[in-house]
């Protein structure tokens, strides 16, 4: 309102920036928003690291493995993926949908597909930070992982696909406040009885068949099979995660509302 006209005028010069630059900008913004948000940091870094340190101090009688960190660290890696790909992404996306952010960005050269790519890359980048930090702390606590780390990364990526699909399914259908409540409640529930940190075979036997079919147990147990017991890629866990990724991904594609 200070000047009556814009110096250069508003004459149209419409042209999209190069695709790579657009995706890079949006991905960087997604990462920045996650790492600068206090609640997201609590969820993605503080809780996993506190649990990692706390549980590694448990006596052998409780963990039934010595040192405890060998049994705990794989579960914390699984928890990290769950917190970022599922809870964090669902809550952020739910509110972005409510405020029309998804709708607006979808009408720019970024587009809906670009937004999804940037969100996925952002989740993977935040997970990389988590894996590095969790592993570094675990090593200082005396962690000696077994198995092939490449297969562990493959399972982490599959877990990301499964949890992202479920998170976006919730964010694209429920109201933002409901998404916040559900995403947090499911996170807590899975943390305790989802087979992430506490192996499914330590839970009440009535729960075990149900829990084993959850992506949380598949990821947690699959990582323990490899990194704790030195096994190869666990095909059962791969199957469970793939089914969740495909089914929830299909449902998300059909039901997701952008505004």
């Amino acid at each position: 309102m200070t000047a009556s006209t814009l110096p250069g005028g508003l004459a149209p010069r419409p042209a999209a920036a190069p695709r790579g630059r657009i995706l890079h900008t949006q991905t960087a913004a997604e990462i920045r928003m996650t790492l600068r948000n206090g609640e997201q940091l609590l969820l993605t870094l503080v809780i996993p690291l506190v649990l990692l340190i706390g549980l590694s101090k448990l006596p052998e009688s409780v963990v039934s493995h010595s040192p405890a960190i060998d049994a705990v660290a794989p579960g914390i890696l699984a928890l990290s993926v769950m917190s970022t790909a599922f809870t964090g992404q669902a809550i952020a996306t739910g509110f972005e949908r409510r405020y029309g952010v998804l709708r607006l960005l979808g009408s720019t050269p970024l587009g809906r597909s670009g937004l999804l790519v940037a969100k996925t890359l952002g989740v993977l980048a935040v997970e990389a930070v988590q894996v590095v930090l969790v592993s570094a702390v675990a090593f200082t606590l005396g962690w000696h992982p077994q198995g092939n780390p490449i297969w562990a990364l493959v399972l982490l990526v599959l877990g990301t696909a499964a949890f992202s699909a479920v998170g976006l399914l919730i964010a694209g259908t429920l109201r933002a406040e409901a998404t916040l409540a559900v995403a947090n409640a499911v996170y807590l529930l899975l943390l305790v009885v989802g087979g992430v940190v506490i192996p499914a075979d330590r839970l009440p036997s009535a729960l075990q068949p149900l829990v084993s079919a959850l992506p949380s147990a598949a990821l947690g147990q699959g990582l323990r099979d490899m990194l704790l017991h030195g096994q190869g890629l666990p095909l059962g866990a791969v199957g469970v995660l793939l089914v969740w990724a495909v089914v929830a991904g299909w449902a998300t594609a059909r039901t997701f509302r952008w505004s």
């Binding site: 309102m1 200070t2 000047a3 009556s4 006209t5 814009l6 110096p7 250069g8 005028g9 508003l10 004459a11 149209p12 010069r13 419409p14 042209a15 999209a16 920036a17 630059r21 657009i22 900008t25 913004a29 928003m33 600068r36 948000n37 509110f95 972005e96 405020y99 029309g100 952010v101 709708r103 607006l104 960005l105 979808g106 009408s107 720019t108 050269p109 970024l110 587009g111 952008w258 505004s259």
Partner: protein, 299 residues
Amino acid sequence: MVLDDLRLSYGDTRALDGLSFEVPAGAITALLGPNGAGKTSTVEICEGYRRPDSGSVRVWGLDPQRDGAALRARIGVMLQDGGIYASARPVPMLRHLASFYAEPLDVDDLVARLGLDSVTASYRRMSGGEKQRLALACAVVGRPDLVFLDEPSAGMDPQTRLAAWDLVEQLRRDGVTVVLTTHLMDEAERLADRVVIIDHGRLVATGTPTELTGGSDVLAFCAEPGLALDSLRSLLPPGAGVLEASAGAYRVEGVVGPAVLSAVGDWCSAHDVVPRDMRTGRRSLEDVFLELTGRELRA
């Protein structure tokens, strides 16, 4: 932009029912209609955001569904609910969007122009007027050919509204095509080169504001309801008619000149009628809308 026979239903609700019209380039077109008339659905289809059940839209010959990527580089959108990150501040948000375009506007100039240069609050803490000015800035920062504004001045304070109108008029001067939805008559009358009146998902009328409101004048007055108008009709000169638009609100339409004034005056004195709030003038868009749909716009 050409819209042809658009139909769209949400469940049992028919939002658009065979809507067709054209939007001329380089002009401001206002879609006018009450809430629920189908304005927002229409705009969403033109942006490629929503797919119609049937019918077609072509924007510079492009299909918004099939050629979405090409179209998205050329349009700017202002949403009613903002579409801005709650934690975003004006300049970083605009720089972020600007980076999606090859030749965006200068962000510093744009925020200065809209009085946002001193705003350092995050979006969630901005005033309503600041939020809407930022949403408008987001719509134009990419130097679009075509700008969609959804109820741009709904809830704006008067100062913000004038700033927004000023920017929209500059868009037209600089050759940008503008499509705005509104239910505010003064906004449509002030800005629009072309008005498209929509109700129940159908085209009711289209034309320039002058075409729509021209043709006849009006003399309106209030008096006690239920007056017998036949005697007045016989006094009026040819080309003028009278009706009771709503209880106690009378309207004489046609060529309203001295002959009509004198006829109405004679009739009032003969029948001992005391007219109140008598006014003469051109029909307003509100009058046109009421006449065409029998509904108040604000309803």
